[in-house]
Symmetry: C2
Subunit: 290 residues, 2 copies
Amino acid sequence: MFMQSLTLSEKATPMTQNNERYQIRAVDRALRVLTLLADGEPRTLMELSDALELSNSTTFRLLSTLASYNFVQRDEASGRYHLGLATLELARSFQLSNPLQQIALPLLRQLRDDTAETVHLAVLDQMEVVYLEKLHGLHAVGLMSSQVGARLLAYCTGLGKVMLAFSDPQAVREYASQVAYVRFTPTTLTSVETLLGELHAIRAQGYAFDRGERESEVHCIAAPILGPNGRLEGALSVSGPASRMHPVEEQGEHIQKLLATARGISNLLGHRAGQPPAYADISFNHSQAR
Amino acid sequence: MFMQSLTLSEKATPMTQNNERYQIRAVDRALRVLTLLADGEPRTLMELSDALELSNSTTFRLLSTLASYNFVQRDEASGRYHLGLATLELARSFQLSNPLQQIALPLLRQLRDDTAETVHLAVLDQMEVVYLEKLHGLHAVGLMSSQVGARLLAYCTGLGKVMLAFSDPQAVREYASQVAYVRFTPTTLTSVETLLGELHAIRAQGYAFDRGERESEVHCIAAPILGPNGRLEGALSVSGPASRMHPVEEQGEHIQKLLATARGISNLLGHRAGQPPAYADISFNHSQAR
DNA sequence: CAAGTAATTTTCACTCAGTGAAAACTTTAT
DNA sequence: ATAAAGTTTTCACTGAGTGAAAATTACTTG
């Protein structure tokens, strides 16, 4: 029996014991249905059966069960299944109950109002950036394609880089050496060396720049959020169009406000001023993953 | 064996054959875990076992499986489980792939820009309103508590009332006669008679008012979105503070823009101008549910 | 609009996946 | 330290979940 999960868990989680055991097959299959449908492509019963390599009666029952809770619904016209309303409702619950968001939101609002630019909150998951919150700046909206719930590569975003810089150096080296670098714009970092160098610099100054590395027109500054014991909890950023944010290194006022907000959130999470980050700078750890 | 689903399906769905059969027990249990956690309260393994009346080994395996796909995660500090990142990612997929949202979004943006007020998109599910989209007006934000993914009572919101007015009269009567009316504000409708009367009036004029019936300070106008065969697909609204929207009946310009947008979306969904709604006005159907 | 085709829904019998009880192990309280 | 409470793992049993195939329904197409 094999297992895939598209969104995550390419390999067993490192710290905690390996899962894979203690899994319920039927539930696993149901969740595979959901992750499959999460690509946005509506599918018929048979298409799902084929893709999951399950008999159509099994797929039918999985879908019936999921549908009874509104996790999927069937479009009457096309006969295709797609994700249902319950996914929206769950996401709202997640956001309301997530401690990081509860704590960060008021400060993020303040930061947005103070800078008038778009503010993001994100976490690092499986070495990828996932946006938790996006507060639009007061200028024309819609130019920035970021979305809450979206998953982005870490090496080409300010948020990603700053979180990598405060993560386990061992794991980051591993990641940096095997990720597929894509040059989205002229400023995208596309090699292990430049990325690790950049992470070192970010760690030294305590925040990151994004000079249009993912979208040429979007520049940003990003800072880490730390919790108890200096553990990385997430990151936040202030982003704007190149026209207003360039050169991004000279947005002194924005940088100060960003850092103050990041420190404020970190404190509320239980990080004590002066306590060092949980991990050493990446340049100080040269041991190889064995 | 019993079954509950908190969010929905209090009784078997009326049109389609009854489910309950063709359900996979293990999947059903997993989804009950998620709906339980959707109240935002993080829970320990044992709390969940007790609440679901399952052995802790079963609950443990359910949680392990859910966690391996990031549907739940365990807070290391408290040892409690709460919803995980995957819920956010699924919700994003839902929004991106939902035909109604794809089609409506550009027109909603236009409406927001034209009115400068907050615009909502919602659907009716199990006689309740679920918000799909919220576009903030250009004025100070944060005054309106509505949230994407939130579920609201239908009788006390403009969106809910307008959708009821275009739904199956049989089902609406049934609903109106048994719902628990709560007086949130002085203008809340709190009896079957006033509600049905209001629905009749709404049907006649084609759109609804909300005179602060849920939150005194929030007034709104709402219009239905119809699809092929005049079936109700959802509704949209323009909302603002009483200070700007009062008296709401005299927001002629906003009403015209709202109706034009609703018709535009309906057309794109396949509703042909002139085609009547799928259901008759509530006052013309006096037959009882047998 | 009938005959044919494809997809969905239901039945059914088999058997192994999912189950709870209880044991082993961890963590937290005292 | 020891005890108490919670979590993870083992284990043997059996009925829940399974796929094959039949029945039904929804689409094509001549």
